[in-house]
Symmetry: C2
């Protein structure tokens, strides 16, 4: 049994997350731990709320990071908003819609599924049909940016439909926050959760969430206590709320919060619109290179997430062999397919700090090298020039 310090290799993280963390954020993690009720820490928490409101484009008072990864942010939304016997419309077009269904069921509520193929966006017409057929539904839940496929649904339209039928709208923005347009207030989203390890480029472990006043009202007026003590917002807000006196609820992950704070400062320095534009530009460069090589996207043009590029494997090529070579020979991580797409696609992330010209070029070069070596039927020598043409614009 080894007992030595763990020294990870320096990878280039271009999978579905975690993404490369900025050296500034890594340095912030190592700052001295202070108490979770220290007045200096409490001041930082207030700043953090403001920075998250900026990232989410919201004025929601109830905006803070849940002290656990994105899946716990999802669960926070469901266990607080849903009660036994409720009916919830869940749109599924990938892995995470399925996880939403699980959450609804474990709250003792009934999910009504709106199904779209993996790789397709959520069809607003199908949602409208479901809303008409279920006038007693309380909530509509969907994934804005499906990390399992790279499809970006039209959140604004889906939220409008939910509201037109008097439902709350719950949105998974794990992969969109900071990478592509997400406007919580303008679109009227009632509850949203995200992660830190995607386009914010902080380490995993926290889940930023935000709730509209309407959603907060639903939570305050629940008939039954929230089934999770740890995620009960009526309790958590005693700590994260802006009351005169902060009450101890649980011990916040201090150093992880230092990291998220720094990542949000970096985002604000760059400007949200600039960050969105950067993701779009480098996506176009990567796309040009991948298509020049002969690879095709899972999601049709116009519905693609810039920060998550899912492409189909060339015929006869073994998924694990390619990813293994990329990791071993190039220290480069790209993502495998999930669920129905396992072994059939790669998911190439361009998220946050990892979304830059160096990584676009490095990934194209490495992928071309490994695929050519394995005898894949691809065009060589054309990917980099194609990407460079976009990058030079």
């Amino acid at each position: 049994m080894a007992e030595h310090s763990f020294h990870p290799p320096q990878r280039t993280l271009m999978g579905p997350g975690p993404s490369d963390v900025s050296p500034r954020v890594l340095e912030a993690l190592a700052r001295p731990t202070i108490g979770h009720l220290d007045p200096v820490f409490v001041e930082m928490m207030e700043e953090m709320k403001g920075l998250l409101q900026y990232a989410f484009q919201t004025r929601n008072e109830l905006t803070f990071p849940v002290s656990a990864p994105g899946s716990a942010g999802m669960e926070t939304c469901f266990v607080n908003l849903v009660e036994p016997g409720d009916k919830v419309i869940v749109c599924r077009n990938g892995v995470f819609g399925g996880r939403m269904k699980e959450n609804v069921e474990r709250c003792g509520a009934t999910p009504v599924m709106v199904e779209d193929e993996w790789g397709k966006v959520v069809d607003p017409q199908k949602l409208e049909d479901a809303l008409k057929a279920n006038p007693d539904a309380k909530l509509v839940a969907f994934v804005h940016a499906e990390t399992s496929t790279g499809a970006q649904s039209d959140a604004r339209t889906l939220v409008e439909l939910a509201h037109a039928h008097d439902c709350l709208a719950l949105v998974d923005a794990v992969t969109s926050l900071g990478g592509s347009p997400l406007k919580v207030d303008e679109w009227g989203i009632d509850a949203v959760y995200s992660g830190t390890q995607k386009c914010l480029s902080a380490p995993p472990g926290l889940s930023p969430v935000s709730f509209s006043e309407r959603a907060a009202e639903v939570i305050r007026n629940r008939k039954r206590k929230v089934q999770s003590w740890f995620l009960d917002l009526n309790l958590v807000m005693g700590y994260w709320g802006s009351g005169a006196k902060r009450a101890y609820h649980h011990t916040a992950p201090i150093n992880n919060l230092y990291g998220l704070h720094e990542a949000l400062v970096i985002l604000k320095e760059e400007g949200l619109e600039n960050a969105w534009a950067r993701h779009e530009k480098h996506h176009q460069a990567l796309r040009a290179g991948l298509e020049a090589m002969g690879l095709s996207f899972v999601v049709k043009e116009g519905d693609r997430l810039p920060q998550l590029n899912a492409v189909t494997l060339p015929e006869g090529i073994d998924d694990a062999a390619v990813r293994g070579r990329l990791l071993r020979d190039f220290n480069l991580e790209i993502g495998a397919g999930l669920g129905a797409l396992a072994g059939k696609v790669w998911r190439i992330g361009l998220m946050g700090h990892a979304c830059n010209a160096r990584n676009v070029r490095y990934c194209l070069m490495a992928l071309e090298s490994v695929l050519a070596d394995l005898g894949a039927d691809i065009a060589t020598g054309v990917a980099l020039p194609a990407a460079d043409k976009v990058l030079a614009d």
Copy 2:
């Protein structure tokens, strides 16, 4: 709205946790983030399990850190082991027994309370009476080391009683792990959770847990799904288990795990018994100093936790004023009382990396200085010599 990097002060953390984090652990946090399915990371996870088994003194296969703070570790134990309609005996002698009761109720089960005064240990006779009166109880839950009072209950005896009445034994070891004797296998504990920010001196955000084979069997054979998707061990074990293929469940808090790994390596280097002895020795030194000053302990001798020293405030002295001065003038954090003890006691931690002679002396010196300045009725000039006498032994 400020948008600048957050630079925390360098405190000395002698409250109930977080405790001072070793520079080695802080440095580990800042190592490059890698993927949560990276083979190198998976290897580190295996090492982590072994190191936690050592810290818990167990061979339990189901031993790993939950990806969230101690309260989530508590909830993991309850939601996995308890089903609606179950009867659970909960021993309460401080804040955390009360939180256990909340957990039992939110699982749809019935808590049977065994009550002891705050500052007292759990009375085995009362537990035995409750077990006799409730032959249908499934589980006994108690806090080994009550962080709210500093009382250390006799875990071995309480577990024996639970087993004699065919109940599982669930133990809160948040403050004991790494600081005072805890022997999961020898004592027969079925489920145990802890935190990282106490005697392990890693930052908060993770909760080491361990389950006996008997407990794992109960979890595998549940009638209903676990109400939390995020904490469902039947799913989590697909990731943390030692199966051939690790399945994605949620994204682990990578960098926080680097920190915990390093903290556990440090613990193993020192040796568990040596760590326990170090906590005991410095506790005796601090005790000698505090008593020489005229302060008295909340918990009677023999029942005290070395790592958490709860003492009563001198008459006429304002709690917040003293803690405020210690923080402002000495960068020293000590803990306030919780619940029934708020404003009446201080909780002085000697945990992990913070448990050393420098801190014992610094705390006594600072406390004496502030109390004397505020006109408290204490003896001056005697605390340091009393502590030094113990330290010199």
